[in-house]
Every structure is written in structure tokens, then in C-alpha cells.
Symmetry: C2
Subunit: 135 residues, 2 copies
Amino acid sequence: MTSTDPAPRPPVRPTRQRRAVAAALAGFDDFRSAQEIHDLISRQGESVGLATVYRTLATLAEAGEVDMLRNEDGEAIWRSCSDTHHHHLVCRTCGATVEVEGPAVERWTNAIATEHGYADISHTLEIFGTCPACR
Amino acid sequence: MTSTDPAPRPPVRPTRQRRAVAAALAGFDDFRSAQEIHDLISRQGESVGLATVYRTLATLAEAGEVDMLRNEDGEAIWRSCSDTHHHHLVCRTCGATVEVEGPAVERWTNAIATEHGYADISHTLEIFGTCPACR
DNA sequence: CGGTGGTTTGACAATCGTTCTCACCAACTC
DNA sequence: GAGTTGGTGAGAACGATTGTCAAACCACCG
């Protein structure tokens, strides 16, 4: 690691493509795969390369503007989210999602990890069930 | 669903290959990918096809004898497990794993889900961090 | 304006984990 | 020992994701 490494964070330009992805994300509130988002954009008349969709989603996820998680097949799925830390209650059938917060869980995971000497903690917690409408 | 559906569970034969996979699983206590397990078996002199390793792991996971979860890249990773419900504290660097239990978390997820009218609840919770040895 | 250097993009190839296919093998039944 | 059924292996196929690289774009400068 060189000492001359001033974190050269490149500026993020609001290009047409990035705006299209953001617009698509604003159009639904469940989790969608990158390919579904790509289709959605196409269907709206815009044309954005699939690779660009992936790149943009990755950038947004890193910036904390979208949530990314994995469905049971291991595919990445995304949706825009509020900016506070939270988890999801997801309908197994229709995908309807509720954001939930659980300060107690945060405290518990940190306590457990510290107790075992683990540092630099992160965690994943997703709840799956069948929503009232799907029952 | 026909009423004449006596769950035609095929018998699981203890073949040489399945024994080899089980033996490999007994040889480590962190999470490993299918390919790593396959390599492990080869290195022990046995020869088992990769597809068979996948098939066997899937069967064992369904039977509840191994845990399967996904690392951050979406790859499936496995390890043998105790038979009670539990979660994992996994080292991001070396994979060292601690099984943890959290009755409070179980109660919390059920409460939250019920509150929102969701039924038939399941959840995933994994904690990642850096273990003492890797710091 | 016209150049200039860095960023972004898109088409497509490449990767890589996982599953499928299918011919063959092994165990069990009659 | 012939038939039946499940299990296996090699390799092809698949599908999500990432890499490549030349062309397009943009902000800025003179």
C-alpha cells in the first residue's frame, strides 16, 4: 500500500443510462433481478446495455441507495430502499415486501460477535412468509 | 394434490460416493463450496464425479443433515450441522464458523411477521465478521 | 470552437457455478 | 439371470455475471 493513495474517488455523472435505471427502480417496490430491470427499461423505450445496468446497480448498492439480496437460487435481486439500516419481510408468493427495523437484533448480533472475538461485523437477515393477500 | 399421494420417497442407498461425501464433510467444520469438497475427496484418493457431489449435497441439505448458505458472491457453501435451528457467525477471511442460537431473534421475527399478517414464516440470518485469528 | 484526457458505454466474448443428458452400472426382486 | 429402478460420470448445456476494448461522451482549457 503506497502512502500516496488519496482515495481517487471518481465523480459519478448522471448520464442518461443511470437516470433510466433510477427511473426503473422507482417504478416498483418489490425485488427484481438485473435482467428484469433491463427489460423494464427497454419496454419504456430507453435502450441501456445489460452490462451498464449491472454496473449501475452495483454502484447504487455501494452507495447504499438500493438493497441487493439473493433469492433462493442465488440470483441477485434489487430494489430501491430507505437510507436507514433495515431488513425485509418478503412474501414468498408475490414478492410483496415490507421494510422492518429491529434495533434489538442489531444489538444482539454485535454482542454475539464481540463475545466470540469477531470484529468488523455485518449481517444479513431476511424474513420470508406468505402475505395476507396470498393466503 | 391427489389424495393418493403417499410421498413416494425413494430409498437413499449408502453408496461408496455418498459415503465419501459424508466423510469429507466430517473432515472440516467451516463452510466449503461444492468444488472444494470435490477436490477434498479427490485428494483423499477417492473418485466421485462433481455432479454426484452436487446431487448428494442437495439430498443431505434436504434431509437437514447439512447447512447450505450463500456467500457474498452467491455461491452455495455447505457444512454438516447440528440438528437444532441455529445461525452462523462466519469469518469473512478464513471461513471459521461458530453456530449461534438466538431465541429472542426467533421470537422477534415471528412477532414482526404476524403483526404484518404474514403466515408460514421462515428466515435467514447470518453474521459475518473477522475472527480473532485473522485480525 | 477544436483539442484533450478521463469516464462511460455497448456489443460481445469469457467465466464459472450449477444443472441436464444419457449411456452405462449396481443392487434388489422374482 | 432377466427385468426394474435408482445411482453415477463425463461432458454438454445453461444462465447469471463480469471482462474486454474500441468508440462515444463530457467537462474543461485555451
